[in-house]
Symmetry: C2
Subunit: 152 residues, 2 copies
């Protein structure tokens, strides 16, 4: 838990938001003693670990919560950058297929098909941040191109 | 089942699409003998009938299917009128609250908060058609105002 050795990636706005959301979910404070790094490690699934997860499986609530946290954090960043409310909507079937969108006004700024959500995770925290940055940058471009629709 | 006495509303594009979708759901043809009117009567919940449905209740699959059929039919009509693909996305919690959107390209043309979905239905077929017409007209206006975003 020493902050001196902390990965600098944890100091980015995105990672701070991820931690904030994970702690908010932890209603009973059972993870208050965990470091930010330990909390976020739940999002890391190395290729080896991924191979161990069955191809087809039911989704558990913890995985679903992590998917929500990731896209909510992206939405918060979009909101901060463009100053307009961004809303996440997630629709999944029991087998972990579905779609996630983030809308700003009447504009779809993120629109992704989800597959194998029961194996949701990233190779590393840095890969997770790269994915979030990509989504953010595309979203802000769309808002920038159509500010009128984003304001509807 | 005599078509001579059929309500003229059943001849509208929207009602025909509703029937088409209801028959498509009926995989085993158990309702092949039912008239269109009988099929669509499932969407009618008179105020008296509505009072009998408990305020809080779990949603059954048949109700969920009807919600999907209604918004899918609206999407098909949007698609026919504007010539672009319209996609429905429905997200509900177990208690029947949620949100439904219809998107065309990157444009949200329908965006509705759903409440009490376990009591989904309309006072009459004509009220159902009015609601669909309203959604259609707003959606086509949005597409007309922002054809570039609808084409994204």
């Amino acid at each position: 838990m020493s902050n001196t050795t902390a990965d600098p990636i944890l100091e980015t706005d995105f990672m701070k938001e991820m931690v904030r959301q994970m702690r908010a979910l932890d209603t009973f404070g059972t993870r208050d003693g965990q470091s930010d790094e330990a909390l976020l490690s739940q999002f890391v699934i190395t290729p080896e670990k991924r191979k161990e997860i069955p191809l087809v499986a039911d989704m558990d609530q913890a995985t679903l919560a992590r998917v929500n946290v990731f896209y909510n954090a992206v939405a918060v960043l979009i909101e901060k950058e463009c100053g307009r409310m961004a809303t996440v909507m997630l629709s999944l079937n029991g087998e972990g297929f579905g779609r996630v969108i983030i809308s700003v006004g009447k504009l779809l700024v993120v629109d992704k098909t989800l597959r194998d959500v029961h194996r949701f995770g990233f190779d590393s925290l840095s890969k997770m941040k790269t994915e979030a940055d990509k989504l953010l940058s595309v979203a802000l471009n769309i808002v920038g191109d159509h500010p009128d629709v984003a304001g509807m």
